[in-house]
Symmetry: C2
Subunit: 886 residues, 2 copies
């Protein structure tokens, strides 16, 4: 039964055992084995955790026995004894999951202290105050984390004693007073729990291990896993490690460092150090730490040793490392190493630099950057030409600029954010309980905490703008306002935070679009070498087309013509066309629209030449071009009450009637797309004529263009054929006028309804290309109206874990994807060289791009700003799922 | 090239050669070969027609040559000569398609007459007047049908001459006057066409054959094929046959007869006879003919011969025959026989009688009744207890009763009918040009024509009520009214026609539902022996359930619970539940609704016990239970203008806001079905509780019931599982209160969205049954909102032949059907004994029922009144597509 090895000494593990030992355990093992100074310890495996949880919080046979054996080894190595009155062994107990979950899990330090062993510590260190301070810290931490006693009870006690003595800082409280505090702490525990604070150190250890295991399923951990899409069944390991003390005086301290700047990617040691402190003091953001460079001044030997260690670690792991260390009496101890989280900018720079340094290959570099993350590089920044005076400056904790209404709690942020309002979450400091609010905020501003504080780490991970440690702002939560330099800003007031500079600004500030760094361009160049998918843009104007080319678009995958109809000077003609009632009366407005459209197509084709441009003929229901029904309805009634001119009322009523006629119960499933083309063929023929005439004009100018004419919302080859024939007839007519010069174009259709996918074999007899319209296809396959679902029930579905992702953001492979695969196979069975792509928002989402690569599509098309993401995602997909085509 | 035999003498063909010789040709050949008196003739094949049309109206090589050879044979047989001045051969030229298309194609009689041969006819018959009358009829008919000269030009001429001589009837016009008319007719032709009326009889023959071939593609024929779903590529044959003259005096005549009554199915000769007339006079309905029995008095020998011939034909063809005959100088000639069209009532009776007579098998009997047609037996009739005085009485031409606004032309009937208005089409007589209006009418009333007139034949075929030959009504089309007994009825006035009695009634008359005849019950009993599909009913009330059992329902396939919520006394609680805002506040109205629902389920389960009842949990979006948004919007604005009480306005505004919140852009794809259950689990749990409590109550009464609890709109097994768990928890709770007695129920889901079909394998892990909701599945697979599509673009799609059928009426096999097959296979892969059915309107439509049988479903479910149709369709499907299951 228990042949399984549940406990590994650090020297028994290595870096590849991440799943079993957790990230932290594997890192400690690896560091131990490559000879770095790591306090001895052992790891209880994730398998033990999963078995424990599966058995209803019961240890599987052999776990504790093995832990005691390992503990014995630690005693041997250190010559100390667990719980001993003379030379006691103290340990830390930490969680460590296979995937890094910072701040999610619980940690206990100084375990092994009791009334007896605290004496040993005092004797050994010759520092009774230190010993008592450790003890009271331990009681507080253990009671909070393991026993569930509210920690403010202990805080209040400390404050009482400090104030009684008239002291400012905790560390000024003398040993005798701490002794009293320890006794009072014990009473707090007794009163809260009904039993004494455990003096049996083995019981302490067992309870701590259980607490770590159980914390895998605490609310914070569940939420973190949900937003980071981490499976629930990984479990966490437990690391038991001899304590190193950073809080034994000024030759002690603790720090956190990155081997390169995690914000910019610069090759420079980057970190923070807190003298005479334990690790939790840094991470919690309660005291603001010093830059790592300060260590050089204070403890130059230790600093040099640390620098060397960092180099060893980086070349060992071939990636940027995030390191925790402690200095005890001028001796360096490494407590953790892991691949460091970084901004997109840093990720790109580190990856490109490491290729240059010969550390990694180009393909590895491509895999090092998370496509979703680079979104932040492509997000807007404050316009640097604007001279704006910040109202305060904090730490630039996560780049990008965000603007919105001030809110002071995460629940409100979430609520307003879900309602579509832009908010900035303002907090003294954030905790894991705030994550749901950060998700919905445009940015985060905290009054306290450093670059590695919770808010900073989480915001960087999400690509949200964040300014931390902005101590100038004084938050009065009950008044729902903050004061800065005597000025009051209230909940609902608009502010802007600039996570690149740390500036906080009043009101909304003009922002500009980002440009690509040289490193980024280099990386994307490598992506192009690797990827199989073309990446096109969705673009409706020459300006969009130019922006798309700048970002590397290889064509336009979707040029929507309806946006062209919406322009102010055109809408009257469009309305005239709609209200005409018959083909004869449509002629005049159509002739006018022909001129506009010809110019539209000329512009966009010229901007993209010679790359392919896929033009979709008119798609939306006609009532979208008419005045709002409800507004007009009320207006007519109001005119009647106000006894307005009868003729005016009548005119409005005629319009109202027409809009009512065009009104649809479910416009998404209504009279739109090619159904318009079939009902009013003259509209599609006009559009085709505009395309052909623009192409002939460009041909005359010597400009080669390549056009794909796309029919939307097709469900049957007969629809396609009828429209194709009319369009081809127009082409033949125009060609005759152009000395029979041929134009370079294809005709194809969208695949955006389930039936289109099911009959793609028949469609492919006539259509030369297809583009999946996965927005519509998702709506109909799932029966989810996007307008209704995203606001109403998708959030509930995500919360209740019925869905892992919003299917409009991440392609639903099991439903929509299945239809796409089917359509791909059917279409290729009829026409092996059929061109197939995807347009719509999934085209720029990495997981969806991966799927498109896997099923064999030729291209993805997305908004210009997402093209770099799509290029990178396409490259990663090609690396992960090699495809045969050239 | 022309090895093909394009021309068959009647004696060379037989009944099985219908595709090649057409129905009429095959019938004539068969009658010839079994020794019946058929005037000699030959048939030019449908292949010749198709080749002619395919070559752009050019005769394929060999056709005319073979026709001339066959013509020679006729001359040999008769001793007459085509175009001869002494003993001329005259022929009829008739179309005959493989599928009977009455009145659709064109016929020419007396072909072979010219200025010379007319003399021969006069000499032979000793009747110059007869000869001249034949000639002028021929010129008129040939000119109209072949040359396209408008026939009213000729009619006017006849009227002029008749009036000039002061005569009442055409047959009173003497020979000399007819000679003048013939000359004037020739001038009409010359003026209209620019050439002389053809005197070359071979040219006449060729032109007539061409006219028949071309008429395959005339508008009337195309429309007829469209509504009767006849393929366009069958083509028509041409029958050239020696004339028999029914118009040579009072020992002559022509008639049409059915071997049994085509209206009731009674075994009695049924037909009409017109003395001294040609065939067209009967069919056109211009003169009202005598009953066939009259022939017995006038020509007893001929009558007996005819009776004998009918017997031979019926036992030869083993089916009711529709016969055309002519008596020339007391000699009987058979001109046509075919299986007779009949009413549903007649079809059932004839089929059942013929089984009793040993003529056909039960399976043949089942195949003899068209399931769509028996709809008319299931339609309402006038309530016989109502004493209503008819305003007029005509012929009872097609059974059933119809009521609607008077319209006087087919276009208006179509237009109003498409807009959902009920209309009765009132005409002097109908022509094939009126078919599109008859389709949309509730009934047809004509002032002229007999039981075999166009209106009667077409209406019977469609199962529309029709009253013919109602000569009392005087139609004034220009005034848009008719007068009857001095009273005026105008377009838009409501009338009721009773096709079973011939009564015409003013206003709307109470109607009653039909009951099943013994014959019908017998036939449906045979259907049950044969069919593999269970037939269930969609029923929401005990009354519906009782009606369903009466029609033979084998369970309820869909019991909708939302209709129960709509009842007047319940709606306030439903609204209270919706507006509650949280679970706590929902408790009270839910408790109230629980009581109602428990009683609902008790009633319906008791009514169906022990047959299975599938209960669908709440499905529609909640706003359907609230007041209309638009109405309320206007009301609130009006209240403001009218300075209504501020508090009242505020209350209304709160309600308005809630409705606006619930408003959806596309409710069909919105927050409904199980999405409600997931958002508000307490509603579904209440419904489940009501079901379980009703079941326990029935159990206590010793009544066994079988329930299927159905979750609507599922797309993922996680939705299903979450709701199943909550429902099962409620069950366990109630079971404990009931001494752990088990209830007999299953849980399953609708398959009504494409994704549900695509993941049916996963769903089947948890669901024990599935029901295809093909209304919704059609909407999403095709992207057709039913509310929008049926009124807006489906008519256009049908008209432009993009679709053959309205996909909401007839299941779209290629799209929706493909998903159904996929779902069937996936579900069975996981759960081989999974129960699968279909509910919704396709479940009662014969072609859809056939498809459900073919893919292997267990049952279909439809409205109670369509159950007999579904049973018959299921039996026919089982005969046509044998299935292995028991």
């Amino acid at each position: 039964m228990s042949n399984k090895k549940f406990v590994y000494l650090f020297e028994e593990g290595h870096a590849d055992m991440r799943d079993l030992l957790g990230g932290k355990g594997a890192g400690l093992a690896e560091m131990t084995n490559i000879g770095l100074p790591v306090p001895p310890g052992f790891t209880i495996t994730t398998e033990a955790c999963n078995a424990y949880l599966a058995q209803g919080n019961q240890f599987p046979e052999g776990v504790l026995e093995a832990a005691y054996v390992a503990l014995g080894k630690l005693e041997e190595k250190t010559g100390k004894k667990f719980g001993d009155q003379e030379n006691p062994l103290l340990v830390s107990v930490r969680s460590g999951a296979p995937i890094s979950m910072p701040g999610m899990m619980d940690t206990i330090l100084n375990l092994g202290l009791n009334d007896a062993s605290v004496q040993g510590v005092a004797k050994l260190t010759q520092d009774e105050r230190f010993a008592m301070d450790c003890y009271r810290r331990f009681i507080q931490m253990f009671s909070d984390v393991v026993l569930g006693v509210e920690h403010h009870l202990f805080d209040t006690k400390m404050v009482q004693h400090r104030e009684k003595l008239g002291l400012t800082y905790d560390y000024e409280i003398p040993a005798d007073e701490l002794k009293k505090i320890v006794e009072e702490y014990k009473i707090i525990v007794k009163e809260a729990k009904g039993f004494d604070f455990p003096q049996d150190v083995k019981q302490q250890l067992v309870m701590a291990i259980e607490a770590v295991f159980s914390s895998w399923n605490n609310q914070r951990a569940i939420v973190y896993r949900k937003i980071n899409k981490i499976p629930d069944d990984l479990g966490t390991a437990v690391n038991v490690q001899c304590m190193a003390f950073g809080n034994m005086g000024n030759d002690c301290g603790t720090g956190v460092a990155f081997t390169r700047n995690p914000s910019t990617g610069e090759k420079e040691l980057y970190g923070e150090f807190l003298v005479n402190a334990q690790g939790e003091d840094v991470v919690a953001g309660i005291r603001t730490p010093q830059p790592i460079a300060k260590l050089k001044e204070d403890l130059p030997v230790v600093y040099q040793q640390f620098i060397d260690t960092c180099k060893i670690l980086e070349s060992h792991y071939r990636d940027l490392q995030d390191i925790e260390f402690t200095v005890e009496k001028s001796k360096l101890y490494m407590l953790q190493t892991r691949n460091g989280k970084r901004t997109a900018r840093a990720a790109v720079k580190v990856a490109v630099d490491m290729v240059a340094e010969g550390l990694i290959t180009k393909e590895e570099a491509l895999m090092r950057v998370e496509p979703n993350q680079i979104n932040q590089l492509l997000h807007r920044q404050l316009d640097p030409t604007m001279k704006v005076e910040p109202i305060a400056v904090g730490l630039p904790a996560s780049p990008g600029a965000g603007c919105g209404k001030i809110v002071f709690d995460a629940d409100t942020a979430e609520k307003m954010g879900m309602d579509g309002e832009k908010v900035v979450l303002v907090r003294n400091e954030t905790t894991p309980d705030d994550i749901h609010g950060i998700i919905y905020a445009q940015g985060v501003l905290t009054a306290r905490g450093g670059m590695t504080s919770h808010a900073a780490v989480v915001a960087r991970g999400m690509g949200k703008p964040c300014v931390c440690g902005c101590e100038a702002i004084k938050i009065d939560k009950s008044a729902q306002s903050f004061e800065v330099n005597g000025k009051i800003y209230r909940a609902g007031d608009i502010i802007t935070v600039d996570g690149a500079t740390g500036n906080v600004l009043a009101g909304e500030v003009r922002m500009i679009e980002p440009t690509l760094s040289d490193d980024f361009v280099t990386l994307l160049g490598w992506a192009n070498e690797v990827k199989k998918l073309s990446v096109r843009a969705n673009a409706d104007t020459p300006e969009d087309a130019a922006k798309a080319r700048e970002y590397g678009a290889e064509g336009i995958g979707l040029c929507r013509t309806e946006h062209m109809f919406m322009a102010q000077e055109r809408l009257p003609y469009v309305q005239q066309m709609i209200l005409a009632g018959n083909e004869e009366k449509r002629k005049e407005p159509l002739a006018k629209l022909l001129e506009f459209q010809r110019a539209d197509f000329y512009g966009i084709l010229k901007a993209m030449a010679p790359l392919p441009v896929c033009i979709r003929l008119l798609d939306p229901p006609l009532h979208e071009f008419l005045p709002n029904y409800e507004t007009l309805l009320l207006e007519v009634q109001a005119m009647k009450f106000q006894h307005a001119d009868a003729q005016q009322i009548e005119e409005k009523e005629i319009l109202l009637k027409k809009i009512r006629q065009l009104h649809e119960a479910n416009p998404m499933l209504g009279h739109r797309g090619c159904r318009l083309g079939i009902t009013f063929p003259d509209i599609y023929v006009m559009q085709a004529q505009a395309i052909f005439e623009a192409m002939y004009q460009l041909k005359a100018e010597g400009i080669d263009v390549s056009v794909e004419i796309e029919i939307p919302l097709v469900i049957d080859v007969k629809e396609f054929l009828m429209l194709k024939e009319k369009i081809m007839a127009k082409y033949e007519e125009l060609k005759t006028l152009q000395k029979d010069q041929e134009l370079n174009f294809m005709m194809g259709s969208m695949l955006e309804l389930p039936r289109a996918c099911l009959v793609a074999d028949e469609l492919a007899k006539e259509a030369e290309f297809f583009s999946f319209g996965t927005n519509d296809l998702t709506q109909t396959t799932l029966g989810f109206s996007r307008d209704d679902a995203e606001g109403k029930f998708i959030p509930i579905y995500l919360e209740k874990k019925i869905m892992k992702e919003n299917p409009f953001a991440v392609l639903d492979r099991k439903g929509v994807g299945e239809l796409m695969k089917m359509a791909y196979e059917k279409a290729h069975a009829t026409r092996p060289d059929v061109l197939m792509g995807i347009c719509g928002e999934h085209g720029g989402e990495p997981s969806s791009v991966e799927f498109c690569h896997m099923i064999g599509l030729n291209y993805v098309s997305c908004s210009p700003y997402r093209i770099p993401i799509a290029r990178l995602a396409a490259a990663q997909a090609a690396i992960n799922y090699p495809r045969k085509d050239a």
